[in-house]
């Protein structure tokens, strides 16, 4: 019996080797994947045992950790509830983190390499390791005005400092309170999530940066820019018929309300933009050709590529253009043109900043737990889509829109506002847009307002919100 016994002994060795090989595979090869799987709450629980850094706006924490006496030592709190939810996101035991909580997790959690030296010293001094703070560029007055303006609507507001790209306001409605999602009462967290899952749209989806919509007439700013770069001036007279038949089709497109843009069938470019003449811009787009329109849109950032600021912004795009008919419709921001409200704000900001587009950023400074600055964002040029001259001409045209055109609802006493309205057709009621900046001579804030299926016009619905946001910011700046 000894020969088979020896073989049994070898078989046992083989079986155990299989076990050990398998745990090698799991604990070494697959280790990182398993550790970082979103459903694996182990690291999260580990993070909860440290004091997480705060997210700070204007010196006040909008997300902070407070110690508790339950098993997870720190509870995440959001003192302003839904006001900053589109920016902070939430930090949940079950669902992980989103927003800045996710984008700057390493620093907030204290695992960032830039905190390495400090972690080593924590080890020796026995100090509890803690995370650093993230200071945002947001302006509380802008954020409040934006959220108040959007109340009751589905929509978004993005406000930028045109000279730096700093994000002054980032609002998305409907909003949600991140506190119940960050609760340690897991059943409560699940109930809250189920409630949000059932809502339409899900308040956790960020209308300002994650969703793209047809921009409608605000796209005419880009087409105007392409025309000015091509040698047009604001005074160049362009055809503006009552209706236009799209080339190669029998489709007739008319102006808003079917009215004539000008009894003569033609008007200066500045006038066409001021009253947002569809037929004029369809013809203008076709005359310029696809390449020039597309090139200009890409210059303003509509490359179709996502970017991070550090929240991820969905890529905006002109879409496919097959023929002149589609080019014509694209030129008034319909067809396959898709924009995020963030992109819309970037268009306004580039015009405001003498034609130089700054890269938007939301994080001003990163602070170590002892509040020393460990990193600071330097403004960065993203592109220069138009010359200073063209930018000045566009500013003149957009000022005309607010003073005497479709954007009159954005007028502010004593401040020259430049802007453009947009009313985009879609399957539901029209989307209402407004982009603009102020003061026109020396712009301090560029803003984009989007109201989904608002049903009115950009001028009726969105321009007043933009005015409110701009006023809030300029009032605050005066006080300083």
């Amino acid at each position: 019996m000894n020969a088979p016994l020896r073989r049994v002994a070898i078989s046992v060795l083989v079986l155990f080797t299989l076990l050990i090989l398998n745990i090698n595979y799991i604990q070494v090869v697959r280790s990182d994947d398993l550790r970082e799987d979103g459903r694996n709450t182990r690291l999260l629980a580990d993070e909860y045992s440290r004091e997480r850094g705060a997210i700070v706006v204007d010196g006040e924490p909008i997300a902070l950790s407070v110690s508790t006496d339950d098993r997870l030592k720190y509870l995440r709190q959001y003192p302003q509830a839904g006001l900053y939810a589109a920016v902070t996101g939430f930090y949940s035991v079950i669902y992980g983190a989103t927003g800045i909580e996710k984008a700057e997790n390493a620093l907030l959690a204290g695992t960032d390499d830039r905190l390495f030296v400090r972690r080593i010293s924590d080890l020796f001094t026995g100090r509890d390791p803690s995370g650093g703070d993230v200071v945002l560029t947001l302006d509380p007055a802008v954020q409040q005005a934006a959220m108040a303006g959007l109340e009751g609507q589905v929509g978004a507001v993005v406000a930028l400092d045109p000279t730096t790209g700093a994000v002054l306001g980032l609002a998305s409605t409907p909003t949600f309170d991140p506190n119940p999602l960050a609760s340690h009462d897991l059943d409560g967290v699940r109930d809250t999530a189920a409630l949000l899952d059932g809502a339409d749209p899900d308040p956790r989806s960020n209308q300002a940066i994650s969703q793209r919509y047809a921009p409608g007439s605000i796209f005419k700013v880009i087409v105007s820019a392409a025309a000015l770069e091509d040698g047009y001036t604001p005074e160049t007279v362009v055809p503006a018929p009552q209706t236009i038949t799209l080339p190669g089709t029998r489709t007739e497109v008319e102006n808003f309300n079917g009215s004539a843009c000008d009894p003569s069938g033609q008007q200066p470019l500045i006038e066409a933009l001021t009253i947002s003449c569809n037929t004029a811009f369809i013809q203008l787009g076709i005359d310029l050709g696809e390449d020039k329109v597309r090139e200009m849109a890409e210059g303003f950032g509509m490359t179709g590529e996502r970017f991070e600021m550090p929240l991820r912004v969905e890529g905006s795009t002109v879409g496919d253009i097959e023929n002149d008919a589609e080019l014509g419709v694209s030129s008034i921001g319909q067809q396959d043109v898709q924009m995020t409200p963030m992109q819309a704000a970037m268009v306004a900001a580039a015009v405001a900043n003498d034609g130089t587009l700054m890269k938007p950023y939301l994080v001003d400074q990163l602070l170590a737990p002892d509040l020393t600055v460990i990193d600071e964002t330097d403004p960065e040029v993203l592109s220069e889509p138009i010359s200073t001259d063209v930018a000045n001409q566009l500013t003149e045209m957009m000022t005309s829109v607010v003073t005497s055109g479709s954007g009159r609802n954005a007028r502010i006493n004593g401040v020259q506002v430049a802007g453009k309205t947009g009313t985009a057709e879609n399957e539901g009621p029209d989307h209402n847009w407004f982009i603009g900046f102020a003061p026109a001579a020396e712009p301090q804030i560029a803003v984009a307002v989007f109201v989904r299926n608002g049903g009115g016009t950009g001028g009726d619905t969105s321009a007043p919100i933009a005015r409110r946001v701009i006023e809030a910011y300029l009032d605050g700046q005066e006080g300083r």
Binding site: L15, F16, L19, T41
Partner: protein, 466 residues
Amino acid sequence: MAGPTTDPRAAAAPGTPVPTRRGTEALLLVFAVVITLAAQCIVDLTVTGSLRPELATFGIWFTALWTVAHVVVRKFAPYADPLLLPCVAVLSGLGLVMIHRLDIADPDAGADAPVQLLWATIGLLLFVAVLLGVRDHRLLSRYAYILMLVGLVLLAIPAVLPASISEVYGAKLWIRVAGFSIQPGEFAKICLVVFFAAYLVDKRDVLALASRKVMGLEFPRGRDLGPVLVVWVVSILVLVFERDLGSSLLLFGIFVVMLYVATERASWVVIGLLMFAGGATVAYQAFGHVQARVDTWLDPFAYYDGSGYQVAQSLFGLGTGGLFGAGLGGGRPDAVPIAKSDFIGSAIGEELGLFGFAAVIMVYLILVERGLRTSLIVRDPFGKLLAAGLSFAVAWQLFVVLGGVTGLLPLTGLTTPFLAYGGSSLVANFGLVALLVRISDAARRPATPHVAPQRLTDAPTEVVQP
């Protein structure tokens, strides 16, 4: 029977006393107890920051257990293999530490570690009882058929009982009375191994008869397939009525291996594998719960919110533990449901890391290989088969359980021997080790003239080999 190179009695010159190696055992036991107590301290310090006063009680009790075990072995089985007991001590010690650690993680569920310590004590009593009661393992073969009946009855009880008493997590393996849960299958395993050994020693010449040669393997006569068919049917019944692949796989695997050792015919292994594959295929086709198990096994993450949750969490724990582990008390092994019993392996892997987990598996390997070595050097064929069967039972059970926990095999309801929480498993396996200790004592004991004839008359079922 025994080869000259593996027989210490042959190596020792006539008249030289054979070393008992009890000193080695004592030293290794001290080592095992120290490891256990150190681990226990680390858990308390990591989780609560202080040492509990109960730790002293635990330390004294645990030390006393192994002191008693050692003294009994020294007195009643002085030539026993010195590695068996220390392996068991370190495994059961680590088990107690992990159970205590999981107790702390979920204080509302009540403390299971003291209960387990009590079971270990009862297990030790069984260990002592077996060593005292079974002075010669060959006597067991007299009761082979009674043990077979006992084994089958134990195996069948949960299947017959209503599900409210016998079903836990979908497997009908239990007898749950008055707060106690007993898994009779653990005891049935030992009874049946004893029976298989006795039966196969008796019938091995017949079973080894070959009739046909197919592809280089000599296959037995058709009518000799009877016994293996019976065990196969019993295994399938266990699979179907108790819904437990583990017990079924365990029973059949042990029998096939013992049959192979007894007959020295590899064809039995082939037949066994084919029969099990056939049975498993039919079961897969016919029963929903078997299909569900297999689907979950193939991709636990696809069933994350249901049947795959446990294995997925176990894999998360192992992955998070990585090479060095989270440290005792530093992980979240309680995130895996029923970590104390079925998934104690993943708790160890998470907190002690790949190195700790592999070390634990190596301790099992030492235990099993020492058992198989005993089987190699013991003279009587019954002892050989019994030792081989018992050792392989431990190895096979561990493979099936840890394979399930780590996703290598479908999940089963078996427990990790010595480590896992559960009285029946711990007590039964202490009994199993007692038998191994008894056989290894016989294997290494110098042949003294006045004992041998008496043993021969005492053992009427023994077939004296030329």
